[in-house]
């Protein structure tokens, strides 16, 4: 296959992934690595490099819109970025040591967890009382805009959230993904933030986290221009287009389809990884 034909095919795949990601709200980044490795037989390290680049693009492109809505908690995001960038540096450095087959297996597990989470959305635990003393000291508590005016929330369990965020960073650096699923786990579940606040703050953080991995990836030679270009442009165009047609889209059906697709990809990644190790 010529480079031009390869790029055109990868572009179409990335376009579809970006669109599905925007329509389902699950992010298209997580399917990029399996698509490139399983469908196009790209080495997982080049795939991770291209995926990471597309994650930075979509996160940065969307950040402006999220801040405008007034949900993102900027100070909390900045504070937790210490955790995610630290984790990302460690994770990205680990990619030079850990075997690609092991990475493939970890990737499969994260995909399975994502599918499980999209099928069973967690409960909200928002309270305006008893904030963590660290949250008070760092002024992390905030308010969420609602139709009935701003609703205050108190941030809980800051140390636990911070540790989980280090984990999110490690996964992001190790797999070349945004790891929004783990960030949401840390913020919704551990720190008791409202959903909208945690998803928008998470998106705000993803670009910075990914940039921390990207430097290491580039030094290690994982970012190939001819793989990254069609992925980045494809995902960006797909995300923009998906956001436009969101209003009329059958989101529930798409979410189910996307979850099924993720499970299939997860099994393939696990099989590929286990075969390589054995």
């Amino acid at each position: 296959m010529s480079v031009t034909a390869f790029s055109a095919l990868v572009f179409s795949g990335a376009l579809a992934a970006g669109m599905l990601g925007a329509l389902t709200g699950l992010g298209g980044g997580i399917v990029i690595v399996p698509m490139l490795t399983l469908l196009f037989h790209v080495d997982i390290r080049y795939a991770m490099g291209a995926s990471l680049v597309s994650v930075i693009a979509t996160s940065s492109g969307a950040a402006a819109a999220f801040v405008r809505e007034g949900f993102a908690n900027i100070r909390l995001g900045m504070f937790l970025e210490i955790a995610t960038t630290l984790g990302a540096l460690a994770g990205a450095t680990l990619t030079g040591v850990v075997s690609p087959h092991v990475i493939s297996i970890i990737f499969g597990c994260v995909l399975l967890y994502s599918a499980y989470r999209s099928a069973r959305p967690p409960q909200e635990h928002v309270t305006a009382e008893h904030p963590d003393p660290i949250a008070v000291r760092l002024r992390l508590n905030g308010t969420e805009p609602t139709p009935h005016g701003p609703r205050p929330y108190a941030v809980q369990h800051v140390p636990l959230g911070f540790v989980l965020m280090v984990g999110a960073g490690v996964l992001s650096g190790l797999l070349g993904i945004g790891s929004g699923v783990v960030k949401v786990l840390a913020m919704d579940q551990a720190m008791g933030l409202p959903f909208k606040v945690s998803t928008t703050t998470s998106n705000f953080m993803i670009g910075v986290t990914a940039a921390a991995s990207a430097g290491v990836y580039m030094h290690n030679g994982y970012i190939d221009p001819m793989v990254s270009l069609p992925v980045m442009i494809g995902v960006l165009c797909g995300a923009l287009f998906g956001a436009r047609i969101l209003a009329g889209a059958p989101v529930r059906i798409l979410r189910t389809l996307f979850a099924v697709l993720i499970v299939v990809l997860a099994i393939e990644m696990l099989v590929k990884g286990v075969r390589g190790v054995a």
Partner: protein, 137 residues
């Protein structure tokens, strides 16, 4: 927490102020992505005009050649309009966008004399610098 008043601590920053700065930074991010996208697409066109017919082989990992791994190498290649270097330069612009955002947040916190967040943001920026400029192991 004492029952007779709000907890002690620094005065909260008015959220409106926060939001104004963040909105400006959000716009900056979008422009950064647009510029990065334009540069990579330009590189893509250059690649098309100069033999995009080469066989694609990404199945085995060789690691990128040395000039594509460092900012200096990429910039010097892009000056000669080498297509792959131009694409790589666009990707460097993209990576730089969130880093610039953090740097400008640092300035914004410093202007508000928000000492805690100056420190927090400086740590994040330092970690990013380690990733971007550290010597390869």
């Amino acid at each position: 927490m004492s029952p007779d008043g709000p907890p002690p601590g620094p005065d909260p920053v008015p959220p409106v102020e926060d939001e104004r700065v963040e909105r400006a930074l959000g716009t900056l991010l979008r422009h950064g992505v647009l510029i990065a996208g334009a540069v990579t697409v330009l590189g893509g066109f250059l690649a098309l005009t100069r033999g995009g017919g080469a066989a694609a082989n990404f199945a085995t990992f060789h690691g990128e050649p040395e000039p594509f791994r460092s900012i200096a190498g990429i910039v010097s290649g892009a000056r000669g309009l080498d297509p792959r270097s131009v694409i790589q330069l666009g990707i460097v612009c993209l990576i730089a966008t969130p880093v610039l955002r953090v740097a400008l947040s640092l300035v914004a916190f410093a202007m508000r004399r928000d000492r805690i967040y100056v420190v927090v943001t400086a740590i994040v920026l330092a970690l990013l610098a380690v990733s971007l400029f550290s010597a390869r192991g």
